[in-house]
């Protein structure tokens, strides 16, 4: 066991934990004033609920003894056998519990990401049921496929350093399913849904950026050159995407916006996530620059296609994650990480195909499962608040509170 690695992963876990409240602020600033608490609450309660799910059965389903490449067994229910010694299977230099809690933070933020798609119109009870079911039935299997010992995607050679498929594509595509299933907000098309507090959103983006160092560098699971490299490309890609979003928007709309730059930074972080342990700095810049443009376009899509993905989870996480996963198949290099693989540009076109398969499988699985879960929840308790409640706002209707008073 290595003390330095242990400390690094624990601190990284703390940074990743902070991302979920950061996301709460990022999203909370973008909704209307009457929904700010409802939106903050969705992320905050996920932090609590999914943590319980994870220590009880989630970790075991994701990383426990493999069953057919598809799912882990419940042998580690309630963390039985997950102790202070390293696990033989994962992260051999740190306590098993440290690995478990680091992974916990990923399991938490993923369903929180989806909340942006259906902000401002979903019942709290339905939301809780959905989240628990989604974490159990979508996240846990996906996580097992990619990172669990024996998981079929990892076995196939798919590269996903810190969660491009597991975290971003899964949440982005589920967001699309949810936006389609739940329908548009009242006023869509006629009212402008203008962010009520952009400084809050910028603060959230900054916290996300900060926490993402734990997300990506921590995914090296040791404090070595690979962690340093992942840290550097994370920072570089985020910067590049912020700038490219700004430039594209400046050309397209005549002015660069603060929300655009903040969103661009997040798009860059999303895109570099799967690649962060496999690519060098220059490819990272390319990935980031493209991510800014791609996600800018992705966000425009929703108006064109007419679904109401309130806070642009599809455009940013869905598209950004997909681009990142494919870009990993282009730019990965064993010179950067000998345990990885070479991508297309380093002579191995097969990797791109593997990446493509992993993206497609993730999308199909997450999309279908999300629809099924939503259907079930809708039958059980009803997913959406009544129209007049939507007009009053989530804060009063769901939580009997108001965000700000005078």
């Amino acid at each position: 066991m290595n003390a330095a690695d242990t400390g690094f992963i624990l601190i990284s876990a703390a940074l990743v934990m902070l991302m979920t409240p950061g996301l709460a602020l990022f999203y909370g600033g973008m909704v209307r004033r009457k929904n700010v608490l409802g939106t903050l609450m969705q992320s905050f309660i996920v932090l609590a609920v999914v943590t319980l799910e994870w220590v009880l059965w989630g970790y075991s389903m994701a990383f426990g003894p493999d069953h057919g490449g598809v799912i882990g067994g419940l042998d580690w229910f309630g963390l039985t056998g997950v102790g202070m010694e390293p696990s033989p299977d994962y992260a051999s230099t740190i306590p098993h519990q440290a690995f478990m809690i680091f992974q916990c933070m990923f399991a938490v933020i993923t369903p929180a990401l989806i909340t942006g798609a259906f902000a401002e119109r979903v019942k709290f009870s339905a939301f809780l049921l959905f989240t628990l079911a989604w974490a159990t039935l979508v996240y846990n299997p996906l996580c097992h496929w990619v990172w669990g010992v024996g998981g079929w995607m990892g076995g196939m050679g798919a590269l996903d350093f810190a969660g491009g498929t597991v975290v971003h594509i899964s949440s982005g595509i589920s967001a699309l399913a949810a936006a389609l299933f739940i329908g548009r907000r009242v006023g869509w098309g006629s009212t402008a849904f203008i962010p009520h507090n952009l400084p809050m959103t910028v603060t959230g983006a900054a916290i996300l950026w900060f926490g993402w160092f734990g997300f990506n560098a921590g995914s090296a699971l040791a404090c070595n050159g690979l962690a340093a490299g992942a840290f550097v490309v994370t920072h570089a890609a985020s910067a590049a995407a912020a700038v490219s979003w700004m430039v594209v928007e400046w050309f397209h709309r005549g002015k660069p916006t603060t929300l655009g730059v903040a969103t661009g930074a997040v798009a860059g972080l999303v895109a570099i996530t799967p690649a962060s342990g496999f690519v060098g700095t220059v490819p990272a810049l390319v990935i980031g620059l493209c991510a800014g443009g791609i996600c800018y376009g992705g966000v425009l899509l929703k108006t064109a296609l007419g679904y109401d993905d309130s806070l642009d989870v599809v455009g940013v996480h869905g598209l950004g994650g997909t681009w990142g996963a494919l870009a990993t198949g282009l730019f990965a290099s064993t010179a950067v990480n000998p345990d990885g693989a070479d991508g297309l540009f380093f002579g191995n076109p097969g990797q791109l195909w593997i990446q493509f398969v992993s993206v497609a499988a993730t999308m199909a699985f997450a999309f279908v499962m999300t629809l099924l879960i939503l259907k079930a929840v809708d039958l059980l308790v009803g997913v959406r608040v009544p129209r007049e409640d939507e007009e009053k706002g989530m804060d009063l209707v769901l939580h009997n509170e108001t965000g700000y008073t005078l």
Binding site: E249, R253, T257, D312
Partner: protein, 112 residues
């Protein structure tokens, strides 16, 4: 006694207030409002989409004055709030039936 309501550009508030003070006006009440008028708001951009925002931030000044002060007060407001640009705002004059100062119970012009 009359009540003058003036809807003006926010950054003109200090000038108008000082102008009215100069006339001997001893009290006035100010609030933030949103105006819709010839000045047509602006377009805001969010996430690559543009929205027309029709409402412009304005300041509303309410001041009750003795009737004979009205012409001067209007003159001062016009002068101080004027930029010549669209959206300079309007002045409205209303009748007032009574004024009472809570602290002293004074009524009428004494109370203004």
């Amino acid at each position: 006694m009359k009540k003058i309501e003036a809807v003006i550009k926010p950054f003109k508030l200090d000038d108008v207030k000082d102008g009215l003070s100069g006339l001997g006006v001893q009290g006035l009440t100010v609030s933030e409002v949103k105006g819709f008028g010839r000045q047509r708001g602006h377009r805001e951009i969010y996430r690559g989409a543009e929205y027309q925002v029709d409402f412009v931030s304005k300041i509303k000044i309410e001041v009750v004055v003795a009737s004979d002060l009205v012409p001067d007060a209007v003159e001062v407001i016009k002068e101080k709030a004027w930029t010549g640009q669209i959206g300079d705002g309007k002045i409205f004059i209303f009748p007032v039936e009574e004024v009472i100062r809570i602290r002293t119970g004074e009524i009428g012009e004494e109370a203004i």
